[in-house]
Protein backbone atom coordinates (compact mmCIF):
# COMPACT_ATOMS: atom_id res chain seq x y z
CA UNK A 1 0.00 0.00 0.00
CA UNK A 2 1.11 3.54 -0.71
CA UNK A 3 1.03 5.80 2.30
CA UNK A 4 1.36 9.55 2.72
CA UNK A 5 2.94 10.38 6.02
CA UNK A 6 4.59 13.21 7.88
CA UNK A 7 7.76 11.46 8.97
CA UNK A 8 10.24 12.37 11.69
CA UNK A 9 13.83 13.24 10.87
CA UNK A 10 16.00 10.81 12.83
CA UNK A 11 19.32 11.91 11.41
CA UNK A 12 20.58 14.03 8.57
CA UNK A 13 24.16 14.45 7.52
CA UNK A 14 26.37 15.46 4.62
CA UNK A 15 28.34 12.43 3.39
CA UNK A 16 30.22 14.18 0.62
CA UNK A 17 29.97 17.67 -0.84
CA UNK A 18 26.23 18.24 -1.45
CA UNK A 19 25.44 14.54 -0.87
CA UNK A 20 23.12 14.05 2.09
CA UNK A 21 22.02 11.01 4.03
CA UNK A 22 18.59 11.44 5.58
CA UNK A 23 16.95 8.93 7.89
CA UNK A 24 13.23 9.23 8.55
CA UNK A 25 10.91 7.40 10.90
CA UNK A 26 7.27 6.46 10.54
CA UNK A 27 4.70 3.77 9.84
CA UNK A 28 5.13 4.10 6.11
CA UNK A 29 8.25 1.96 6.50
CA UNK A 30 6.01 -1.04 7.20
CA UNK A 31 5.05 -1.01 3.54
CA UNK A 32 8.62 -1.28 2.31
CA UNK A 33 9.38 -4.74 1.10
CA UNK A 34 11.53 -4.53 -1.98
CA UNK A 35 14.86 -2.87 -2.62
CA UNK A 36 14.84 -0.28 -5.40
CA UNK A 37 11.51 1.33 -4.67
CA UNK A 38 11.39 5.06 -4.19
CA UNK A 39 9.55 7.71 -2.24
CA UNK A 40 8.06 11.01 -3.42
CA UNK A 41 9.14 13.79 -1.09
CA UNK A 42 7.61 17.20 -0.48
CA UNK A 43 10.62 19.37 0.28
CA UNK A 44 8.73 22.37 1.70
CA UNK A 45 5.39 23.08 3.30
CA UNK A 46 4.07 25.57 0.81
CA UNK A 47 3.89 25.93 -2.96
CA UNK A 48 7.58 26.71 -3.45
CA UNK A 49 8.62 24.32 -4.85
CA UNK A 50 5.34 22.78 -5.90
CA UNK A 51 6.13 19.24 -6.92
CA UNK A 52 7.41 16.29 -4.94
CA UNK A 53 10.89 14.90 -5.58
CA UNK A 54 11.42 11.21 -6.34
CA UNK A 55 14.24 9.75 -4.22
CA UNK A 56 15.25 6.10 -3.98
CA UNK A 57 15.06 4.18 -0.75
CA UNK A 58 18.66 3.43 0.19
CA UNK A 59 17.86 1.15 3.10
CA UNK A 60 15.05 0.47 5.51
CA UNK A 61 14.77 -0.97 8.97
CA UNK A 62 11.39 -2.47 9.88
CA UNK A 63 12.37 -2.88 13.46
CA UNK A 64 13.05 0.82 14.00
CA UNK A 65 10.40 1.90 11.48
CA UNK A 66 13.06 3.95 9.75
CA UNK A 67 14.49 4.29 6.29
CA UNK A 68 17.38 6.14 4.76
CA UNK A 69 17.78 8.00 1.52
CA UNK A 70 20.86 9.55 0.00
CA UNK A 71 20.44 12.46 -2.31
CA UNK A 72 22.30 15.23 -4.02
CA UNK A 73 21.24 18.74 -3.01
CA UNK A 74 21.39 20.17 -6.52
CA UNK A 75 18.26 22.16 -7.29
CA UNK A 76 15.73 24.15 -5.33
CA UNK A 77 13.83 21.29 -3.74
CA UNK A 78 16.71 19.12 -2.66
CA UNK A 79 18.57 22.17 -1.33
CA UNK A 80 15.57 23.01 0.84
CA UNK A 81 15.35 19.40 1.96
CA UNK A 82 18.99 19.49 3.01
CA UNK A 83 18.18 22.16 5.58
CA UNK A 84 15.80 19.95 7.56
CA UNK A 85 16.99 19.33 11.07
CA UNK A 86 16.29 16.63 13.60
CA UNK A 87 13.44 18.56 15.19
CA UNK A 88 11.56 18.65 11.91
CA UNK A 89 9.36 16.40 9.79
CA UNK A 90 9.18 15.54 6.11
CA UNK A 91 6.04 14.80 4.06
CA UNK A 92 6.68 11.50 2.24
CA UNK A 93 4.54 9.54 -0.21
CA UNK A 94 5.58 5.93 -0.68
CA UNK A 95 6.82 3.36 -1.12
CA UNK A 96 6.41 3.71 -4.87
CA UNK A 97 7.10 1.51 -7.85
CA UNK A 98 8.59 -1.89 -8.28
CA UNK A 99 12.16 -2.54 -7.27
CA UNK A 100 14.87 -5.10 -7.92
CA UNK A 101 13.93 -8.79 -7.93
CA UNK A 102 15.95 -10.31 -5.11
CA UNK A 103 14.92 -13.79 -6.19
CA UNK A 104 16.61 -13.54 -9.56
CA UNK A 105 19.74 -14.92 -7.90
CA UNK A 106 19.85 -17.97 -5.66
CA UNK A 107 21.71 -18.49 -2.44
CA UNK A 108 25.32 -19.42 -3.16
CA UNK A 109 25.31 -17.66 -6.50
CA UNK A 110 26.95 -14.31 -7.23
CA UNK A 111 25.29 -11.04 -8.20
CA UNK A 112 26.93 -7.98 -9.71
CA UNK A 113 25.62 -4.62 -8.52
CA UNK A 114 26.58 -1.63 -10.67
CA UNK A 115 25.83 1.92 -9.58
CA UNK A 116 26.68 5.35 -10.92
CA UNK A 117 26.75 8.50 -8.77
CA UNK A 118 23.45 9.20 -7.15
CA UNK A 119 22.22 5.87 -8.56
CA UNK A 120 24.31 4.02 -6.01
CA UNK A 121 21.98 4.32 -2.97
CA UNK A 122 19.19 1.83 -3.87
CA UNK A 123 21.83 -0.87 -4.42
CA UNK A 124 22.62 -0.77 -0.73
CA UNK A 125 19.31 -2.25 0.44
CA UNK A 126 19.49 -4.70 -2.45
CA UNK A 127 22.96 -5.81 -1.45
CA UNK A 128 21.90 -6.28 2.16
CA UNK A 129 18.95 -8.42 1.17
CA UNK A 130 20.98 -10.49 -1.27
CA UNK A 131 23.67 -11.11 1.32
CA UNK A 132 21.02 -11.99 3.89
CA UNK A 133 19.78 -14.80 1.69
CA UNK A 134 23.28 -16.08 1.01
CA UNK A 135 24.07 -14.50 -2.32
CA UNK A 136 27.60 -13.31 -2.93
CA UNK A 137 27.71 -9.73 -4.11
CA UNK A 138 30.22 -7.74 -6.13
CA UNK A 139 29.80 -3.96 -6.23
CA UNK A 140 31.08 -1.69 -8.97
CA UNK A 141 30.41 1.91 -8.12
CA UNK A 142 31.23 4.88 -10.32
CA UNK A 143 31.68 8.48 -9.21
CA UNK A 144 32.96 11.73 -10.67
CA UNK A 145 35.86 12.14 -8.32
CA UNK A 146 37.26 10.96 -5.01
CA UNK A 147 35.42 13.52 -2.87
CA UNK A 148 32.08 12.45 -4.33
CA UNK A 149 32.46 8.84 -3.17
CA UNK A 150 30.12 7.71 -0.41
CA UNK A 151 29.21 4.42 1.31
CA UNK A 152 32.41 2.68 0.11
CA UNK A 153 32.93 1.11 3.52
CA UNK A 154 29.28 0.14 3.87
CA UNK A 155 29.34 -1.71 0.57
CA UNK A 156 32.76 -3.24 1.28
CA UNK A 157 31.33 -4.74 4.46
CA UNK A 158 28.84 -6.69 2.32
CA UNK A 159 31.12 -7.87 -0.46
CA UNK A 160 33.85 -7.14 -2.96
CA UNK A 161 33.66 -3.46 -3.89
CA UNK A 162 35.33 -1.67 -6.81
CA UNK A 163 35.29 2.07 -7.29
CA UNK A 164 35.75 3.91 -10.56
CA UNK A 165 36.23 7.66 -10.75
CA UNK A 166 36.10 9.66 -13.93
CA UNK A 167 39.24 11.57 -13.03
CA UNK A 168 41.04 8.58 -11.54
CA UNK A 169 41.42 10.21 -8.15
CA UNK A 170 40.19 7.05 -6.46
CA UNK A 171 39.96 3.43 -7.65
CA UNK A 172 40.00 2.74 -11.36
CA UNK A 173 40.15 5.73 -13.70
CA UNK A 174 37.14 5.78 -15.95
CA UNK A 175 33.65 4.35 -15.88
CA UNK A 176 32.08 1.32 -14.23
CA UNK A 177 32.47 -0.54 -17.51
CA UNK A 178 36.23 -0.09 -17.24
CA UNK A 179 36.13 -2.04 -14.01
CA UNK A 180 33.67 -4.61 -15.33
CA UNK A 181 35.71 -5.63 -18.35
CA UNK A 182 38.34 -7.03 -15.99
CA UNK A 183 35.93 -8.94 -13.77
CA UNK A 184 35.49 -12.69 -14.12
CA UNK A 185 31.92 -13.19 -15.33
CA UNK A 186 31.05 -15.60 -12.58
CA UNK A 187 27.94 -13.61 -11.64
CA UNK A 188 24.40 -14.78 -12.41
CA UNK A 189 22.76 -11.40 -12.86
CA UNK A 190 23.49 -7.68 -12.95
CA UNK A 191 21.51 -5.09 -11.03
CA UNK A 192 22.17 -1.48 -11.95
CA UNK A 193 21.13 2.05 -11.27
CA UNK A 194 22.68 5.22 -12.61
CA UNK A 195 22.68 7.72 -15.45
CA UNK A 196 21.12 6.67 -18.75
CA UNK A 197 24.44 6.54 -20.66
CA UNK A 198 25.70 4.01 -18.09
CA UNK A 199 22.54 1.92 -18.41
CA UNK A 200 22.85 2.00 -22.18
CA UNK A 201 26.45 0.83 -21.99
CA UNK A 202 25.42 -2.05 -19.77
CA UNK A 203 22.58 -3.00 -22.05
CA UNK A 204 24.90 -2.92 -25.05
CA UNK A 205 27.65 -4.99 -23.43
CA UNK A 206 26.07 -7.22 -20.85
CA UNK A 207 22.68 -8.38 -22.06
CA UNK A 208 23.69 -12.01 -22.12
CA UNK A 209 22.93 -12.30 -18.40
CA UNK A 210 19.75 -11.19 -16.63
CA UNK A 211 20.24 -7.44 -16.37
CA UNK A 212 18.03 -5.17 -14.27
CA UNK A 213 18.06 -1.43 -14.85
CA UNK A 214 16.60 1.26 -12.63
CA UNK A 215 15.41 4.20 -14.73
CA UNK A 216 14.89 7.88 -14.06
CA UNK A 217 12.51 10.37 -15.57
CA UNK A 218 10.93 13.69 -14.61
CA UNK A 219 7.73 12.90 -12.77
CA UNK A 220 4.41 14.50 -12.00
CA UNK A 221 2.25 12.27 -9.86
CA UNK A 222 4.71 9.45 -9.10
CA UNK A 223 1.85 6.96 -8.92
CA UNK A 224 1.02 6.22 -12.56
CA UNK A 225 -1.80 8.69 -13.18
CA UNK A 226 -0.31 11.48 -15.25
CA UNK A 227 1.68 9.73 -17.99
CA UNK A 228 4.68 12.00 -17.43
CA UNK A 229 7.24 9.24 -17.01
CA UNK A 230 6.52 6.73 -19.73
CA UNK A 231 8.99 4.95 -21.94
CA UNK A 232 8.45 2.87 -25.03
CA UNK A 233 8.29 -0.85 -24.45
CA UNK A 234 8.21 -2.08 -27.99
CA UNK A 235 6.42 -1.20 -31.19
CA UNK A 236 3.73 1.44 -31.65
CA UNK A 237 2.07 2.92 -28.63
CA UNK A 238 3.06 0.25 -26.11
CA UNK A 239 4.68 1.73 -23.05
CA UNK A 240 5.67 1.37 -19.41
CA UNK A 241 5.37 3.95 -16.68
CA UNK A 242 8.64 4.34 -14.83
CA UNK A 243 6.94 5.39 -11.60
CA UNK A 244 4.49 2.53 -11.28
CA UNK A 245 5.69 -0.23 -13.64
CA UNK A 246 9.33 0.56 -12.81
CA UNK A 247 11.59 2.17 -11.90
CA UNK A 248 13.35 -1.20 -12.29
CA UNK A 249 12.94 -3.03 -15.58
CA UNK A 250 14.63 -6.04 -17.04
CA UNK A 251 16.85 -5.05 -19.96
CA UNK A 252 14.86 -5.30 -23.17
CA UNK A 253 11.56 -4.71 -21.45
CA UNK A 254 11.77 -1.00 -22.26
CA UNK A 255 13.61 1.11 -24.79
CA UNK A 256 16.25 3.28 -23.16
Amino acid sequence: MIVKETMKVLSHKELAPAIFELTLQGQLVEEMKQPGQFVHVKTSDGLDPLLRRPISICSFNQHEQSFTMIYRAGGKGTKLLSRKTETETVDVLGPLGNGFPVDAVESGETALLVGGGIGVPPLYQLSQMLVAKGVQVIHVLGFETKSAVFYEREFAALGETYIATVDGSHGTKGFVTDVMKDLADSYKAIYSCGPTPMLKALEAGYSDKPLYLSLEERMGCGVGACFACVCHSGEGSSYKKICSDGPVFRAGEVIL
Binding site: K4, L50, E217, R218, G220, A225, C226, F227, A228, S238
Partner: protein, 303 residues
Protein backbone atom coordinates in the same frame (compact mmCIF):
# COMPACT_ATOMS: atom_id res chain seq x y z
CA UNK B 1 -23.60 16.57 2.80
CA UNK B 2 -26.58 18.09 1.03
CA UNK B 3 -24.86 21.47 1.34
CA UNK B 4 -22.66 20.34 -1.50
CA UNK B 5 -24.99 18.63 -3.98
CA UNK B 6 -25.10 20.18 -7.43
CA UNK B 7 -27.34 19.62 -10.43
CA UNK B 8 -25.87 20.35 -13.83
CA UNK B 9 -26.88 19.22 -17.31
CA UNK B 10 -26.51 15.45 -17.24
CA UNK B 11 -24.83 15.48 -13.85
CA UNK B 12 -26.23 14.93 -10.39
CA UNK B 13 -23.20 15.58 -8.26
CA UNK B 14 -22.91 14.63 -4.59
CA UNK B 15 -20.45 17.44 -4.38
CA UNK B 16 -18.82 19.78 -6.86
CA UNK B 17 -15.30 18.34 -6.62
CA UNK B 18 -14.05 16.62 -9.76
CA UNK B 19 -10.52 15.47 -10.54
CA UNK B 20 -9.43 17.22 -13.74
CA UNK B 21 -8.80 15.38 -16.95
CA UNK B 22 -5.26 14.11 -17.41
CA UNK B 23 -4.42 14.47 -13.75
CA UNK B 24 -6.22 11.38 -12.55
CA UNK B 25 -5.72 8.83 -15.30
CA UNK B 26 -8.82 6.65 -15.35
CA UNK B 27 -9.06 6.62 -11.59
CA UNK B 28 -7.29 3.35 -10.85
CA UNK B 29 -4.23 4.85 -9.20
CA UNK B 30 -6.13 7.12 -6.87
CA UNK B 31 -8.50 4.32 -5.90
CA UNK B 32 -5.53 3.03 -3.88
CA UNK B 33 -5.89 6.11 -1.70
CA UNK B 34 -9.65 6.48 -1.23
CA UNK B 35 -13.04 5.35 -2.44
CA UNK B 36 -13.71 7.06 -5.76
CA UNK B 37 -17.45 7.16 -4.94
CA UNK B 38 -16.60 10.04 -2.64
CA UNK B 39 -16.00 12.30 -5.66
CA UNK B 40 -18.60 14.49 -7.35
CA UNK B 41 -17.55 13.08 -10.71
CA UNK B 42 -14.37 12.08 -12.54
CA UNK B 43 -13.02 13.67 -15.68
CA UNK B 44 -11.07 10.91 -17.33
CA UNK B 45 -7.94 11.31 -19.44
CA UNK B 46 -8.53 12.55 -22.97
CA UNK B 47 -9.60 9.75 -25.27
CA UNK B 48 -8.82 9.63 -28.97
CA UNK B 49 -10.07 7.16 -31.60
CA UNK B 50 -6.79 5.25 -31.73
CA UNK B 51 -4.24 4.52 -29.00
CA UNK B 52 -1.62 7.26 -28.72
CA UNK B 53 1.81 7.15 -27.18
CA UNK B 54 2.05 10.90 -26.89
CA UNK B 55 5.13 13.09 -26.88
CA UNK B 56 8.73 12.13 -26.12
CA UNK B 57 9.98 12.62 -22.55
CA UNK B 58 10.74 14.73 -20.55
CA UNK B 59 7.09 15.66 -20.50
CA UNK B 60 6.91 17.77 -17.38
CA UNK B 61 8.84 20.67 -15.88
CA UNK B 62 8.32 22.50 -12.67
CA UNK B 63 7.67 26.25 -12.60
CA UNK B 64 7.06 28.63 -9.72
CA UNK B 65 3.72 27.62 -8.20
CA UNK B 66 2.99 25.60 -11.29
CA UNK B 67 4.15 23.01 -13.75
CA UNK B 68 4.35 22.50 -17.48
CA UNK B 69 3.19 19.34 -19.15
CA UNK B 70 3.31 18.07 -22.69
CA UNK B 71 1.94 14.58 -22.38
CA UNK B 72 0.51 14.73 -25.86
CA UNK B 73 -2.79 13.02 -25.16
CA UNK B 74 -1.36 9.59 -24.44
CA UNK B 75 -4.24 7.17 -24.03
CA UNK B 76 -5.12 3.57 -24.84
CA UNK B 77 -7.65 4.57 -27.50
CA UNK B 78 -11.45 4.59 -27.62
CA UNK B 79 -11.94 0.83 -27.69
CA UNK B 80 -9.87 0.05 -24.65
CA UNK B 81 -11.13 3.06 -22.73
CA UNK B 82 -14.66 1.78 -23.13
CA UNK B 83 -14.00 -1.91 -22.63
CA UNK B 84 -11.47 -1.67 -19.82
CA UNK B 85 -11.39 1.69 -18.12
CA UNK B 86 -15.05 2.67 -18.16
CA UNK B 87 -16.04 -0.86 -17.24
CA UNK B 88 -13.71 -0.80 -14.27
CA UNK B 89 -15.01 2.62 -13.26
CA UNK B 90 -18.61 1.42 -13.47
CA UNK B 91 -18.04 -0.45 -10.21
CA UNK B 92 -17.87 2.91 -8.47
CA UNK B 93 -20.82 5.12 -7.72
CA UNK B 94 -19.49 8.16 -9.52
CA UNK B 95 -20.52 9.81 -12.79
CA UNK B 96 -17.86 10.03 -15.48
CA UNK B 97 -17.20 13.03 -17.66
CA UNK B 98 -15.38 11.76 -20.71
CA UNK B 99 -12.75 14.11 -22.07
CA UNK B 100 -12.53 13.63 -25.82
CA UNK B 101 -9.89 14.77 -28.25
CA UNK B 102 -8.70 14.28 -31.77
CA UNK B 103 -6.86 15.67 -34.75
CA UNK B 104 -9.90 16.39 -36.88
CA UNK B 105 -13.61 16.84 -36.43
CA UNK B 106 -14.28 13.26 -37.48
CA UNK B 107 -12.18 12.04 -34.55
CA UNK B 108 -14.25 14.00 -32.07
CA UNK B 109 -17.45 12.78 -33.66
CA UNK B 110 -16.36 9.17 -33.55
CA UNK B 111 -15.27 9.26 -29.92
CA UNK B 112 -18.33 11.26 -28.86
CA UNK B 113 -20.78 8.95 -30.52
CA UNK B 114 -19.36 5.80 -29.00
CA UNK B 115 -18.17 6.91 -25.60
CA UNK B 116 -21.40 8.73 -24.79
CA UNK B 117 -23.16 5.37 -24.96
CA UNK B 118 -21.26 4.03 -21.96
CA UNK B 119 -23.69 3.81 -19.07
CA UNK B 120 -21.51 5.66 -16.57
CA UNK B 121 -20.57 8.48 -18.94
CA UNK B 122 -22.95 11.26 -17.95
CA UNK B 123 -21.36 14.07 -19.90
CA UNK B 124 -18.64 14.77 -22.43
CA UNK B 125 -15.87 17.29 -22.06
CA UNK B 126 -14.83 18.45 -25.48
CA UNK B 127 -11.11 19.13 -25.32
CA UNK B 128 -10.52 21.72 -28.00
CA UNK B 129 -7.79 23.30 -25.96
CA UNK B 130 -4.90 20.90 -25.63
CA UNK B 131 -1.76 22.89 -26.35
CA UNK B 132 0.47 19.85 -26.70
CA UNK B 133 -0.43 18.24 -29.96
CA UNK B 134 0.51 19.33 -33.44
CA UNK B 135 -2.84 18.84 -35.02
CA UNK B 136 -6.23 19.51 -33.55
CA UNK B 137 -6.25 20.37 -29.90
CA UNK B 138 -5.69 24.03 -29.41
CA UNK B 139 -6.32 25.03 -33.01
CA UNK B 140 -9.96 24.12 -32.48
CA UNK B 141 -9.97 26.16 -29.33
CA UNK B 142 -8.67 29.48 -30.58
CA UNK B 143 -10.88 30.10 -33.60
CA UNK B 144 -14.52 30.75 -32.66
CA UNK B 145 -15.93 29.50 -35.94
CA UNK B 146 -14.04 26.23 -35.77
CA UNK B 147 -14.96 25.80 -32.13
CA UNK B 148 -18.61 26.29 -32.92
CA UNK B 149 -18.44 23.80 -35.74
CA UNK B 150 -16.82 21.03 -33.73
CA UNK B 151 -19.22 21.65 -30.85
CA UNK B 152 -22.17 21.31 -33.14
CA UNK B 153 -20.82 18.17 -34.75
CA UNK B 154 -20.30 16.55 -31.37
CA UNK B 155 -23.66 17.70 -30.03
CA UNK B 156 -25.32 16.07 -33.00
CA UNK B 157 -24.02 12.63 -32.13
CA UNK B 158 -23.68 12.69 -28.36
CA UNK B 159 -26.30 11.02 -26.24
CA UNK B 160 -25.21 12.98 -23.16
CA UNK B 161 -24.72 16.71 -22.51
CA UNK B 162 -21.58 18.27 -23.92
CA UNK B 163 -19.28 20.59 -21.97
CA UNK B 164 -16.68 22.42 -23.99
CA UNK B 165 -13.27 22.98 -22.43
CA UNK B 166 -11.96 26.41 -23.25
CA UNK B 167 -8.37 27.40 -23.84
CA UNK B 168 -7.10 30.48 -22.01
CA UNK B 169 -4.65 31.20 -24.82
CA UNK B 170 -6.99 33.59 -26.58
CA UNK B 171 -7.46 37.31 -26.85
CA UNK B 172 -11.17 37.15 -26.19
CA UNK B 173 -12.47 34.32 -24.04
CA UNK B 174 -16.06 35.60 -24.08
CA UNK B 175 -16.17 35.37 -27.84
CA UNK B 176 -15.02 31.74 -27.64
CA UNK B 177 -17.63 30.93 -25.00
CA UNK B 178 -20.39 32.51 -27.04
CA UNK B 179 -19.32 30.61 -30.11
CA UNK B 180 -19.55 27.23 -28.43
CA UNK B 181 -22.81 28.27 -26.79
CA UNK B 182 -24.12 29.01 -30.28
CA UNK B 183 -22.80 25.59 -31.30
CA UNK B 184 -25.10 24.01 -28.74
CA UNK B 185 -22.80 23.39 -25.77
CA UNK B 186 -24.57 22.44 -22.56
CA UNK B 187 -21.84 23.78 -20.35
CA UNK B 188 -18.28 25.03 -20.21
CA UNK B 189 -15.20 23.79 -18.44
CA UNK B 190 -12.39 26.25 -18.03
CA UNK B 191 -9.56 26.71 -18.11
CA UNK B 192 -7.15 24.42 -19.83
CA UNK B 193 -3.44 25.21 -19.55
CA UNK B 194 -1.61 28.34 -20.67
CA UNK B 195 1.18 27.68 -23.13
CA UNK B 196 4.53 28.09 -21.40
CA UNK B 197 8.15 27.04 -21.48
CA UNK B 198 11.21 26.43 -19.33
CA UNK B 199 14.82 26.23 -20.45
CA UNK B 200 17.61 24.19 -18.98
CA UNK B 201 20.26 26.32 -17.31
CA UNK B 202 23.12 24.07 -18.38
CA UNK B 203 22.16 23.22 -21.95
CA UNK B 204 20.05 26.24 -22.86
CA UNK B 205 17.54 23.91 -24.47
CA UNK B 206 13.86 23.47 -23.57
CA UNK B 207 13.40 21.17 -20.58
CA UNK B 208 10.35 19.59 -22.16
CA UNK B 209 11.09 17.50 -25.23
CA UNK B 210 8.05 18.99 -26.97
CA UNK B 211 9.67 22.42 -26.26
CA UNK B 212 6.52 24.15 -24.99
CA UNK B 213 4.03 22.77 -22.52
CA UNK B 214 0.82 23.63 -20.76
CA UNK B 215 1.11 25.63 -17.57
CA UNK B 216 -1.13 24.45 -14.73
CA UNK B 217 -1.28 24.86 -10.98
CA UNK B 218 -1.73 27.81 -8.60
CA UNK B 219 0.24 30.12 -10.91
CA UNK B 220 -2.70 30.25 -13.35
CA UNK B 221 -5.47 30.63 -10.79
CA UNK B 222 -5.89 34.40 -11.22
CA UNK B 223 -6.24 33.99 -14.99
CA UNK B 224 -8.82 31.23 -14.54
CA UNK B 225 -10.83 33.32 -12.09
CA UNK B 226 -10.82 36.33 -14.37
CA UNK B 227 -11.98 34.32 -17.37
CA UNK B 228 -14.75 32.58 -15.43
CA UNK B 229 -15.82 35.96 -14.07
CA UNK B 230 -16.07 37.38 -17.58
CA UNK B 231 -17.70 34.38 -19.22
CA UNK B 232 -20.23 33.65 -16.49
CA UNK B 233 -21.70 37.12 -16.95
CA UNK B 234 -21.93 36.86 -20.70
CA UNK B 235 -23.30 33.39 -21.31
CA UNK B 236 -25.98 31.36 -19.59
CA UNK B 237 -23.99 28.13 -19.60
CA UNK B 238 -22.97 26.53 -16.32
CA UNK B 239 -19.22 26.51 -15.76
CA UNK B 240 -17.01 23.87 -14.23
CA UNK B 241 -14.02 25.90 -13.12
CA UNK B 242 -10.42 24.81 -12.78
CA UNK B 243 -6.89 26.11 -12.71
CA UNK B 244 -4.74 25.94 -9.62
CA UNK B 245 -7.27 24.80 -7.06
CA UNK B 246 -5.53 23.32 -4.02
CA UNK B 247 -7.92 23.83 -1.10
CA UNK B 248 -11.49 24.56 -0.03
CA UNK B 249 -10.95 28.34 -0.03
CA UNK B 250 -9.91 28.16 -3.67
CA UNK B 251 -13.13 26.29 -4.48
CA UNK B 252 -15.22 29.06 -2.93
CA UNK B 253 -13.25 31.66 -4.86
CA UNK B 254 -14.04 29.85 -8.14
CA UNK B 255 -17.72 29.75 -7.20
CA UNK B 256 -17.68 33.47 -6.41
CA UNK B 257 -16.20 34.08 -9.86
CA UNK B 258 -19.07 32.19 -11.47
CA UNK B 259 -18.36 28.46 -11.36
CA UNK B 260 -21.02 25.88 -10.46
CA UNK B 261 -18.55 23.05 -9.86
CA UNK B 262 -14.79 22.72 -10.01
CA UNK B 263 -12.06 20.39 -11.14
CA UNK B 264 -8.78 19.79 -9.36
CA UNK B 265 -5.77 18.87 -11.45
CA UNK B 266 -2.14 19.45 -10.53
CA UNK B 267 -2.89 19.45 -6.80
CA UNK B 268 -3.49 15.69 -6.95
CA UNK B 269 0.22 15.23 -7.67
CA UNK B 270 1.20 17.18 -4.59
CA UNK B 271 -1.34 15.53 -2.33
CA UNK B 272 -3.18 12.45 -3.60
CA UNK B 273 -5.83 13.04 -0.93
CA UNK B 274 -6.56 16.61 -1.98
CA UNK B 275 -10.04 15.91 -3.42
CA UNK B 276 -11.52 14.08 -0.42
CA UNK B 277 -9.83 16.58 1.91
CA UNK B 278 -11.51 19.48 0.14
CA UNK B 279 -14.85 17.66 0.17
CA UNK B 280 -14.52 17.14 3.91
CA UNK B 281 -13.53 20.72 4.61
CA UNK B 282 -16.13 22.49 2.51
CA UNK B 283 -19.18 22.16 4.81
CA UNK B 284 -17.44 23.81 7.76
CA UNK B 285 -16.06 26.55 5.55
CA UNK B 286 -19.55 27.23 4.18
CA UNK B 287 -20.86 27.46 7.75
CA UNK B 288 -18.12 29.87 8.67
CA UNK B 289 -18.95 32.05 5.67
CA UNK B 290 -22.68 31.85 6.38
CA UNK B 291 -23.89 29.85 3.39
CA UNK B 292 -26.49 27.11 3.63
CA UNK B 293 -25.51 25.64 0.30
CA UNK B 294 -22.47 25.98 -1.90
CA UNK B 295 -24.56 27.02 -4.88
CA UNK B 296 -25.23 30.32 -3.10
CA UNK B 297 -21.61 31.18 -3.78
CA UNK B 298 -21.88 30.98 -7.57
CA UNK B 299 -21.35 34.34 -9.22
CA UNK B 300 -21.36 36.25 -5.96
CA UNK B 301 -18.62 38.51 -7.28
CA UNK B 302 -20.94 40.06 -9.81
CA UNK B 303 -24.48 39.19 -8.71
Amino acid sequence: MSKLSIELPGLSLKNPIIPASGCFGFGREYSQFYDLSKLGAIMIKATTPEPRFGNPTPRVAETDAGMLNAIGLQNPGLKKVISEELTWLSNHDVPIIANIAGSQIEDYVKVAREISQASNVHALELNISCPNVKEGGITFGTDPEVAKKVTKAVKDVSSVPVYVKLSPNVTNIVEMAKAVEAGGADGLTMINTLVGMRLHLKTGKPIIANRTGGLSGPAIKPVALRMIYEVSQQTSLPIIGMGGITNAEDVIEFFYAGASAVAVGTANFVDPFVCPTIIDELPALLDELGFDHISQCTGRSWK
